[in-house]
Point group: C2
Chain length 153, copies 2
């Protein structure tokens, strides 16, 4: 396996980040971000404090995957939680340990920043991802996820 | 139903908030916060920016329930999400619309602050809460919730 280099998303590599975000949208058959969404994605990750953080993983100088996360809060522990929002590796670079490097980077950040937990969600039908997370020690919790979309506010 | 008054948690009413947090811990058979957790809960909700926000609902001047929330982020919408962490009403004040007032306050805050979504989780066995959320328009998503605790970092 080639070594993976991680770099925080900033003005310098934002185009690479958008390239990967569009690839994830393709993969999930979702609408890719438009101009307005791209502008907000940029503003919200370079803001102080940022609304989310993003890191690109590269192999041999080529951007091949990324993670995004932010910090939620456990009122039970009275500690922040690192919440992993997206983790994605280009299809042609899978099964080579890049996702594992990205995941373990997040886990190390959770520790470094004094979090009590690291949380995330996985689609119920995504068996390869479920197996990956369980190999990495993730425990499934007995919770249902609920949502109200803006048109229901 | 008596009208519910909502008040943001601050230095002035933090003792009332802790009283309610301890009642929720009793109800869920969880360990109530110790001195260190109480100090962090205070620091983290009055910080700028706060790590979480908390609001107490009172009826006739008596604190009877609370909500806590924070803002996560949808990279798909490029918009913040209001994430409802805790919603709790004292047992003897349930079934009188107080939870509904607290929930609708959060929904209104999500709208007011330009969120694209409001998200939350519910324990899979908590049928009264599930019925409540579905009456309020919440949609269950096909996601599993995963976690790493600090001892697994």
């Amino acid at each position: 396996m080639s070594p993976v280099t991680l770099e925080k998303v900033s003005e310098n590599n934002f185009a690479d980040f958008l390239f990967l975000v569009r690839k994830l949208a393709d993969y999930e058959h979702l609408t890719p971000p438009g101009k307005a969404e791209e502008e907000r994605l940029f503003r919200d990750c370079v803001a102080d404090p940022p609304r989310y953080e993003a890191y690109i993983g590269s192999v041999g100088g080529k951007p091949v995957g990324y993670v995004t996360f932010y910090f939620t809060y456990s009122t039970f522990l009275a500690l922040p939680t690192l919440y992993l929002e997206d983790i994605f590796v280009l299809e042609e670079f899978r099964r080579s340990g890049i996702g594992r490097e990205l995941f373990r980077f997040c886990r190390a950040e959770a520790r470094r920043r004094g979090c009590g937990r690291m949380d995330w969600q996985v689609l119920t039908w995504n068996n390869p991802a479920i197996r990956f997370y369980e190999r990495e020690g993730g425990k499934r919790l007995d919770w249902y996820v609920y949502r109200l979309d803006r048109n229901a506010f």
